[in-house]
C-alpha cells in the first residue's frame, strides 16, 4: 500500500483542510476508499478515523468498495426526468438484473442514477464509464448491454 503513503507525502501540511483533497486523490488512484486507506489518512492528519469516515460518507463522490468495470450512470437531472429517465433506469435495471445503486455479481457492471450531467439539450442521457449515450431510448438499452457483454466474453 505504498500508493497511499505516496499520496500522503505529497501533502506536507497536515491540516484538516487537506482531508478532502487527500481522499479524492486516494479514490482517483485506488478507485475507492478502503478501510486501510481511511485509517492511514486519519493517522496522518491526526483525526479519529470515525470522523474521516463521517466526512467521506457525507459526500456523493466517495465509494467504499471497488467499482465495477463498466459503470453505468443514468442522468436524473430535470430535463432527463421530463424525458422519462425513470423508465430508462428501469430498462437498465431489467437488462442488468440489478437494482440501481448495485453491482452485478461478476463485478462487470454497476448501475446508478446520478445528478444532472449537464447535457440537458440531449435528454435523456446515460453514461457508461466515459462514453455518453444521448437521446437514448429504452429499447436501445438491451442491445447496448449485450454488445458490451459480448466484447467481454470474447476477451
Amino acid at each position: 500500500m505504498n500508493m497511499i503513503e505516496a499520496i500522503l507525502n505529497r501533502y506536507t501540511n497536515q491540516d484538516r483542510e487537506n482531508l478532502l483533497p487527500i481522499l479524492q486523490d486516494v479514490q482517483r488512484e485506488a478507485g475507492y476508499l478502503s478501510e486501510e486507506a481511511v485509517i492511514k489518512v486519519s493517522n496522518y492528519l491526526r483525526i479519529p478515523s470515525s470522523k474521516v469516515y463521517a466526512v467521506a460518507t457525507f459526500y456523493d463522490q466517495f465509494r467504499f468498495a471497488p467499482g465495477a468495470k463498466h459503470q453505468v450512470c443514468v442522468c436524473n437531472g430535470t430535463a432527463c426526468h421530463l424525458e422519462h429517465s425513470a423508465d430508462l433506469l428501469s430498462a437498465f435495471e431489467k437488462s442488468l438484473g440489478i437494482a440501481a445503486g448495485n453491482s452485478t455479481k461478476n463485478g462487470l457492471f454497476s448501475l446508478k442514477a446520478t445528478q444532472c450531467m449537464g447535457a440537458c439539450g440531449m435528454a435523456p442521457v446515460a453514461k457508461i464509464n466515459n462514453n455518453f449515450y444521448v437521446n437514448i431510448k429504452t429499447e436501445m438499452v438491451e442491445p447496448l448491454i449485450d454488445s458490451i457483454q459480448k466484447n467481454e466474453n470474447a476477451q
Binding site: 478532502l20 457525507f58 459526500y59 444521448v134
Partner: protein, 646 residues
Amino acid sequence: MMNTTDTKYLTKEVVLNFTREYSPEVQEKIDLLLRSNLKKPVIYIGTGTCGIAAGAGETLKAVQAYLDKTDNEAELIEVGCIGLCSAEPLLDFQSPGKARISFRNVMAADVDCLLDECFHKQISGRKVLGQMRNEDHEYWENIPIINDLPFFKKQKRVLLFDCGEVAPSSLNEYLAREGYKALVKTLLHYPPDEVCSIIESSGLRGRGGGGYLTGQKWKLVRQQGCEQKYLICNADESDPGAYMDRTLVEGNPHRLIEGIAIAAYATGATKAYIYIRAEYSIAVVRLKNALEQAKAAGFIGNNIFNSGFNLQIFLREGPGAFVCGEETALIKSLEGRRGMPRNKPPYPSEKGLFGKPTVVNNVETLANVPGIMLNGSKWFSAIGTPDSTGTKLFALSGDTINTGIIEVPFGISLREIIYEIGGGLNDDKELKAVQIGGPSGSLIPEKGIDIKIDYKHFAEEGLMMGSGGMVVMDSSKCMVDIVKYFINFLQNESCGKCIPCREGTNRMYKILDAITKRPTEDNTHESLIRFKGIMQLESLAEVIKETSLCGLGKTAPNPVLSALKWFREEFEEHIYERKCSANVCRDLKKYLISAERCTGCMVCLKKCPEDAITGSARMPHFINQEKCTRCGICYEVCKFSAIDIL
C-alpha cells in the same frame, strides 16, 4: 504549448497599454491571435461537456484523420460552447479572408463530406448553422449571419461573447482580447476602496441566487480589521439542469481568474479558493491549466506587477453535495468537514473560512468584474434595468426547440426567451409552465410568462431568481410529478442537520408519492386520507419555510407552494379522480384493450414482459390489471390502436 515570448510581448504592448491605440505591428499580432487575419484555414470544434456528450470527441478524431489523409492543411482548435446545446457537436471552419462558418450536429461520419465542401469553397448548405459577422471578411453567399439568428438576436452576450471563439487553453488569445488589462489597471490605478465603490455603483448583484449587491458585500469584508482574509469562488453548481458556470469556465477560464484577482484585491484577501464541482472534469482541467499560465505570467503570485499585492489561488474540487452551494456549508467543506450549514449571523464576511472574514462570490458574478473595471460602472449599469443591471445567464432546457445557455439583459420577458430565443415549443405544443430557479424555484404558469425578468419584479411576485435553471414544459407534463421529482431531489440532498428540512421534505415527498400511487382500496375513506395529505402539504410547507436553518430548507417548499397556487386542480384530479390527465404518473394509468378494435394479432401478448395479457389468435385480448405494471409496451406495439389509456 504556451508561447512565453508572445505572452511577455502582449503583456507589455497590450495589457499595459491603457490607451487602446496599438502600433501596426502590435495590431498585426492581435489580429493573428483574434484570427481576423489568417495564414491557413482553422477548424474549430466545440469540446465543452455538452459537445463531448453529443459526440464531439469522435468528430475531433475524424477531423484529425481527415487532415492526416488529405493534402489540406488547417489548424485544429478546441473551443468552449457557444451556448446552443441542441446544435452540438459544432464544427466551425474559417479560411483566410472568408467569414467563419458554423455547422451544426456534425457527427464523425459527416466530417469528410463537410470538410471537402469547405476546402473546395462549395458549401451545399447542409448542416449549416450560419456564419459569423466580421466586416473584414468576405461573406459566404446565401448563408445566414449567426448573430441574426433568433437564438442569438435577443441575447446580450457580455460574458459569453468569446465563448466558442477564444481557445480556453490559450492565455495569449485572452491577452489579445485585452484580458488581464482590467486587473493590471485596477492594481496600478485604483485603491481597493474605490474598486468596491465602482462595483457598488455598477449595481452588480450576486448571481448565485441571493441578489445581494456585490460591492456592498466586498466593503463589509474590506472593513474587517483582520490581517488574513479569504475569497471563495463558489463554482459548486449542482442544480439539476443548470450549467451556466461550467460553460463560463470551460469557455474562458482566464476571465474568472481575473475577476477573482480583482475581487481579492478589493476585499484585501490574499488567499482565494475556487470550489468547483468535481464532476466538471473538463472545467477542472481547463481551470488548472489557466491557473498555471496566469501564475507563470505573473498575473497571480507575489507582488503582482509591483503593486505590492499578493494572491494565491487554490483549486478545490467539491465532492458532491448540493447543500455545499450554501456559503456556510461550503466553508465547512473547505475546512475538511461535513458540509453542513450553520446559523447566520455571524455572516462569512465577519467569521468565515477558518474563522476569518471571507467573501463568497459566484462564478458568474466574478466573471462580470473585469468588464466593469475595464469599461466603467456606467457601461454596465446601462445594460438591463435601473434596479437590476447587467445580464443574466440561464440554462434553457426542456421542450423548446433551441436549448442551451443563453445570456439576456435584465428586463426581458419570459415570453421573449421562450418564443424568440427558444424558438417556441417542439411540435408547436402548448406551453404549460416554466420552472425557474432550480429545484427550489417556482413554477410559473403560461399566463404568467409576460413577467419581466429582474430582481424587483421577481420579488414582487414572490419568485426566486435562483442561479439560472429554466425548464420549459409543454402540456404533456404532469405538475404533480415534477413537484414530486424536485422534492425527492431536495429530501435526498438535505444534510440532516435541522429537523424541519430533514423530516419535512421527507414527509412532503411521502404525501406526494401517495397521491401518485394506485389506491389499494376503493373507498372514500382512503380519498379522505389523501385529501388530508394535501391539506397538510400546504401547512407543512409553511412550517418548513419558516423554521429551516439554511436556504435549502427555507426554499424547499417553493415548488409545492407554487404548484398548488397555479395547478391546484391537477393535484385535486390526482386525489379525487385518481387520474393523471397528462398520463405521466404511471401508477394511475389503466391500459384497456378495446374488444372492437383488437384483431387478435397476438403482438402485445408476446411483447408483454409481465405476461399480463391473455387471449388467443384472432380473438380480442384482455389485460389482467393485477399483473399489469403499466410499462406501456403493449400500447406502443399495437398496430391497430386498440389499446386505450384511462
